[in-house]
Symmetry: C2
Subunit: 396 residues, 2 copies
């Protein structure tokens, strides 16, 4: 046939990627759970504290046998975490605002990584003497930068040695492992991106972002995999917008609308308990996330949270000094100043949580979904109408 | 036709990417020059010092009108560069070895970026007051970490203001600019990746690496572009291997072979004048770079440098403790210990610098190229046989 172009590309399996498309908390976990049911391999591109290694959820029995940790993953040490707390405090004192980081040490680890003083899993498991030496250098650097920091170097090394013996069987060459999986027999490989587009270190609302790439490129740099092997890219979009902590938020509703979204949507931070800021859906932001990620379809979550509204607004354009701007501003002060143009759609004022097909949705809810598809030019593949796994309508 | 799969993918133009496949100095520049001749847009994914902004090469007249700088690019300040020098010195003192960085401040800028205290072009050009405030905080942080560092904050800000006025017209929303280029009329877009695969912060020979992603994923995270728009990925491979500075180098020839490669190849650092370490071609390393980058074709440069050898070796496998290992080790101590298995090929002992077609090459030179293609399963598209632009044989 005339498929020359497609077949000329290097072959191999393609991974399915799931990405948060806003500021996080879009319900990515539920979409991943759904897709993971028939996946052969599930990858996460994220730095995790070692405390997170234990089984945290039911159904994870035997996880130690199935979990694989990349040998190129950087290790988060206790002093990274301690430094994270100190840094947040300093930022508060110096500039009067903190970043609202989760204080898990992720930022400091990325700084160590960039400074080429970071330590990786392969260092821990291959050569403990070399590891110890470099650990001491790094720990002493931290001590001299943060004089209040107390680090029991020998004690830490003892702990790390024990930890090493436990995880050594799980540590593998991640590049080779994935290469084999991509180029062996057909396999379903699912990748969960870290965080969400607007928290990406390069394209998010810097400086209120995480320290890594949360966009689709981060999947390639995170796993060491060529772009040709990226298949479907699913963006997870909450039917409205939320944001944690400070920073510009154009469609925010700092009023009873926002409060209604906050309460109905249980928009609280999972670890902090802090209320999330809430507002209308922002299509300018989503178009921007789509430019970077190239979503092939969307999962629209928490549509049921909008059940109570008689009318629903959607941000469709930004104006700056009276003129519509075509892009999503990079600078936070500028983003703070934009004036949002809204399109108002009629609400459905009906409980949709029992709908299981698109047709069962009220016509106004259908129109809301279709409006989003038309504006973004991306098909919606799933619609979330409730907390349970069954309350996810699949459209195609 | 039955091309459903290809046409279902989101459309747009595709960029052509050129990447170094070894430790740098592969002759990427020449390949980029060749391809740039009929490109509409050329992108570089690299942090550049502001000193580099001036016209550095002839033929760049009018460059100020044609150059576009992404507003999300981080700015390298003088104190970043100063800190780079201090850090190298500290590493030398503490661990007895430095990283051999170019001391241009790139590492410190990535650390500031990760710490979310970095400043970007969009901050400089949109809101100089906010910029100044954050500049002061950052400069004071540097002063407290490096007490010997002297920073004339007000003077720097004055300089930056002047600089800002000059570059403001060139600063654009990079994501939107590229999106328009990808989704407008057909355009040839060429992207030059930074450095080379083995210098990648995640997949290179850490810690002797640069602070950014030099593999193809770095093109997506650098430009904010989806993987679907990545087209050809050309790997630039020198016909032998070189490495600058310290670090494991399995096929190194610390003998008269290496010296011959070094002299014939003029393997000196451009700015430092330091001799580059030289050795045979390493296919294990190239297979690894290919796993990550998915090269669609290769440019094999400097084949003429091998003209003098009666036999030529090629590293084809690594042994560790007597056993062949399937992967390229992540840990430097392990990489230091591998024993290379070589395949010996007959040399051609002829001056090939005047060859302009593949057929004009001696059969042993042809066989060397075919051997590489067969082992890597990647077609060689260009062969470099001399310094000039014409001395590049194109195969298809
Ligand atoms: N009402 C409602 N809740 C949902 C829906 N989708 C997810 N949630 C809830 O939102 C919360 C966050 O979901 P999770 O998948 O953990 O999100 P993640 O943090 O983005 O991975 C959980 O309490 C989910 O039950 C939905 O469609 N409707
Ligand atoms: N003899 C020879 N020299 C080459 C060839 N290709 C590149 N060079 C030289 O190698 C040097 C580095 O090339 P350049 O393109 O600047 O490399 P880059 O630093 O990797 O971008 C230059 O002096 C080139 O002229 C080749 O095929 N043969």
């Amino acid at each position: 046939g005339d498929c020359g172009r497609a077949s000329a590309r290097p072959g191999g399996n393609r991974v399915t990627v799931v990405l948060g498309a806003q500021w996080g908390d879009e319900g990515k976990g539920k979409v991943v759970d759904l897709l993971a049911q028939d996946a052969d391999i599930v990858c996460r591109c994220q730095v995790r504290r070692r405390g997170r290694l234990g089984p945290t959820a039911p159904g994870l029995e035997g996880w130690e046998k199935r979990l694989i940790i990349s040998d190129r993953a950087h290790i988060v040490f206790d002093f990274h975490q301690a430094a994270d707390g100190i840094q947040e405090q300093q930022r508060q004192e110096q500039a009067g605002k903190n970043l609202g980081t989760t204080k898990k040490g992720i930022g400091p680890v990325y700084s160590s990584k960039a400074a080429r003083s970071g330590l990786r899993m392969c260092d821990l498991v291959s050569d403990f003497d070399g590891f110890s030496e470099r650990f001491k250098v790094l720990a002493n650097q931290y001590k001299s930068i943060y004089p209040t920091l107390e680090i029991d170097i020998e004690g830490e090394l003892q702990k790390l040695k024990g930890y090493m013996e436990r995880i050594k069987p799980m540590v593998r060459d991640g590049v080779y492992f994935l290469y084999e999986a991509l180029h062996g027999p057909p396999k379903k490989i699912l990748v969960e991106g870290a965080n969400a587009a607007l928290l990406d270190i390069d394209f998010g609302t810097y400086p209120f972002v995480t320290s890594s790439n949360c966009t689709v490129g981060g999947v390639c740099t995170g796993l060491g995999m060529p772009p040709q092997n990226v298949g479907e890219v699913y963006g997870v979009v909450k039917a409205y917008t939320t944001r944690v902590g400070i920073g510009a938020f154009p469609t925010e509703q700092d009023n009873e609308i926002g409060e209604l979204l906050q309460t109905r949507g249980s928009e609280f931070g999972v670890t902090t308990g802090r209320k999330r800021r809430c507002g209308w859906l922002d299509l300018v932001l989503l178009k921007y996330a789509h430019m970077i990620n190239g979503f092939t379809a969307l999962a629209l979550t928490k549509l049921d949270i909008l059940d109570m509204f008689t009318e629903i607004k959607v941000g469709v354009a930004y104006k700056l000094d009276g003129e519509i701007i075509p892009h999503f501003p990079a600078n936070q002060e500028v983003l703070n100043k934009v004036e949002v143009q809204y399109k108002t759609l009629p609400g459905w004022n009906t409980d949709i949580s029992n709908a299981r097909t698109f047709k069962e949705l009220p016509v106004n809810a259908q129109n809301y979904v279709r409006f989003i598809e038309d504006e973004l030019q991306i098909p919606v593949k799933w619609i979330g109408v409730g907390k349970s796994r069954e309350s996810m309508i699949q459209l195609f």
